[in-house]
Symmetry: C2
Subunit: 402 residues, 2 copies
Amino acid sequence: MFKVNENFCLLKENYLFAEIANRVSAFSKANPDKKLVKLGIGDVTLPLAPAVISALHEATNEMAMSSGFKGYGPYEGYEFLREAIVKNEFIARNINISIDEIYVSDGAKSDMGNILDLFAADNIIAITDPVYPAYIDANVISNGGKNIVFLPCLAENGFAPMLPKQKVDIIYLCYPNNPTGSTLTRAELKQWVDYAIKNDSIILFDAAYEAYIQEEDVPHSIFEIEGAKNVAIEFRSFSKNAGFTGLRCGYVVIPNELSTKTAEGKTLKLGELWLRRQATRYNGNSYPIQKAAAAIYSPEGKEQTKQMVAFYMNNAKTIRESLIQLGFTIYGGINAPYIFLKTPNGMTSWEFFDVLINEAGVVGTPGAGFGSMGEGYLRLTAFGSAESTKEAINRIKTQLKL
Amino acid sequence: MFKVNENFCLLKENYLFAEIANRVSAFSKANPDKKLVKLGIGDVTLPLAPAVISALHEATNEMAMSSGFKGYGPYEGYEFLREAIVKNEFIARNINISIDEIYVSDGAKSDMGNILDLFAADNIIAITDPVYPAYIDANVISNGGKNIVFLPCLAENGFAPMLPKQKVDIIYLCYPNNPTGSTLTRAELKQWVDYAIKNDSIILFDAAYEAYIQEEDVPHSIFEIEGAKNVAIEFRSFSKNAGFTGLRCGYVVIPNELSTKTAEGKTLKLGELWLRRQATRYNGNSYPIQKAAAAIYSPEGKEQTKQMVAFYMNNAKTIRESLIQLGFTIYGGINAPYIFLKTPNGMTSWEFFDVLINEAGVVGTPGAGFGSMGEGYLRLTAFGSAESTKEAINRIKTQLKL
C-alpha cells in the first residue's frame, strides 16, 4: 500500500488566514449591511506601475512573433533580470553580489519552502516567535518540525530575537519583520552572522520588506554584514515593493562562498544544489513576468515603485499616529508596512479581533496566529487604500467601545 | 553544523540536456560555419496563439487599474480557468471530473516533483525505462531513489511497460510517451488501473502530450478507465498543446475519491494534502497567465491551438515517413510529437548522436539518456519549424554516411 507523508497530520488544523476568512464570512453573513474594512492579509491593492504594464505588453508582443517567441528559459532566470537585480539592489549599495549568485523564481514563499529540499531532516531549526506561519508549516511537512527551537521576540527588546541557548543549525530571520514591523540594526544582525560563523549554522534571511526601510542604520541585505556570504541565503520578492502578489516573481541570493561538507568530507556548494533542485522540480518563471520585474529597475519603474512604497508608508503613518493618539501601544510602521498593536485591557488576540470586527467592522490579523509570543497583539497592514485606511481609523476612533 | 540533504550526491553528474548542450557547444566552437538543426529538446517553436496574446494584453490592462487589479489568487487556481478545463478536457469527453478536483500550477514539471512531498520516503516506486529523467532525479532528491523499480519498455511490446513482478506502491506512467512516442490502449491502461486497485498502489499519470492523440482507441485521460478515480493522479500541461513552455501553466487532477489510511487508520484525502502543500510552499500562478490559459478554450483559441498541434504533427509525419523510406526502424510520431528511432549498425545512442551531429549537423536526444532500455535509440522531436524539419531530413538523406 502506498504511504503518505504523515507529517501532514502534525500540521495545525486551520491555517491562520483561512480562520480569518471563516470569521469574516460568518460576520458578513450575519451582518449583510455592514461593510468591512480589511487590514488583515498583507496583500497589496495599488494597480501595477505603468512601467511594469508596458513591459508586460511588450513581452506579450514578442511572444506573438516567431522572432521574439521564448520557450523554456534558464532555470536560474534570464540574465537581463539577474543583471538588473545585481546592479540595482546590490552594487548600488556596495554589496558584492554577482549575477551567478541570483536565482529567479515565482516568489519568496515558494523559495522559502523549497529551500528545505536542500537540507537533511535532522537539523535544529531556529524560528522567531512570532513568525510568518508558512516557515513552520513548511518545516512540519518536510521534516516533521520536531527540531524547531523558537526564539522569543519581546516588545522590550524591540522584537529582536534572543540568541538561542542551545546550538542551532538553521536560523530563520525576517527583517523588516512580518508581523511585528520591527527591524534589526547592523550591530544586531552582525551578532547573528557571528553566531552562524561560530556554530557552522546557516541563516535563511527573508528580506521581502526591504523596500520599506526608511531609516539609515537598518541593513537592506544581510550581505551588508561582513562574513555573511559564508553563512546566509537571502530571499527577495517583487510582491511588496512592486505589487507583484498577483504576477509572482522573487529571487534567492546564494553566495558562491556558501558551502558545507558531507559526512564523508565532500564539499557541496549550496548554489549548485539549488540549481539542480530547480532544474529537477521547476522550469523557470514566465518570460513576460521576468520582463515585468526587470522594468521596475528602469528610471520610470524606479520612480513609480518608490511612489507605491511611499503611498503604503503614508498609510502606515496614518495608522501609527492615530493609534498612538488614541492611547494604543503600537510597534512597527516605521520601516515596514505592518503595525503591531498591543491589545487593550489584556484581551487575547482573537478576543480583540472579534471586538474589532463586531464593533468597528475592521479586520486585523491576530498576533497569536503568528506564534505564542504574538498573543496579546494584533497586526494591521498598511496595504489598504488611503480611504479604507482612514475609514478604519475613524471607525476605531468612533465605534470601538473600550 | 547544518547538514545538507546528501541525496544530492546520489544524482548522476550531468543532466541529459546539459550534456547535449555541452556537446553542441563544443561542435559549434570547432565548426563555427556549420549551422546545426536542433531536433533535440522538446521545446515548442511556434509563437503563441492570437487568442492567448489577446488574453495576456487584456489581463495586463486589468492589472493596470484599481478596479481590475488582482493580488494573491486562490492556491488552486482561479475558478474561470478550472471551469474551462473541466468543461473542455473532461466533460466534453464524458469524463466525470469536477472543478474542485483541479489544481492549477506553473507547470507539470513542478507538479510531478512537488507531488513527492505528499508521500513517505519508503514507498516502492515503479518508473518506466526509458523515461523523462526528472522523474528519477526528483525521487533521488526526495527519498534517495533507493526503492525505484524500473519497468522495461521494449519495442516488441510497442514500448508498453511490463507489469512489475514485485509489489509496487507508486507507479509513474506517461502516455502518449516521452521519449518513445508510444501510447497505451484502453485495455492496456486498464491493466494498470486494475493492478493499482488490487495492490493499493497509486498511479502518477503524466498526460502532457494528450493533445497529440490522433487515433480513436487511445485514452486521453486515465480517468476514462473505470476505477481510476480511486487510484490515480493526472498531470496536465499547457506547454505542448498551446506552446506555454515560456509562459508556464499546468494543472493536476486529484479526484475527491483518492484517499489513503495512515498507520493509525486515519483517512487522508490526497487532494486536501496537496492543497495544504500548495498553500504552504506556493502562492498560485500569475493572473495574466491563467487568463491566457483559459483563452485556449475560447472558440478561436481551440481552433488556433488545434492548428498548432496539426503543424507539429505534420512535422512528425515528415520525419516518420522520410526515415522509414531511408530504411530506419522508427517508433512514435503518430499520437505524439516524438519519433524514437533505432540507431543503425548497432551504434550506441551517444555514438549515433555524435555521428548525426558531425556528419549531418542534426541534434537529437540519445535514448540512453532516458534510461538503460533507451540505449540503441535516439529521439527526434517534431517541435521544429517546417523548414528546419525538412532541412534535417534532407541532411540525414544526403550527408549521413552509413
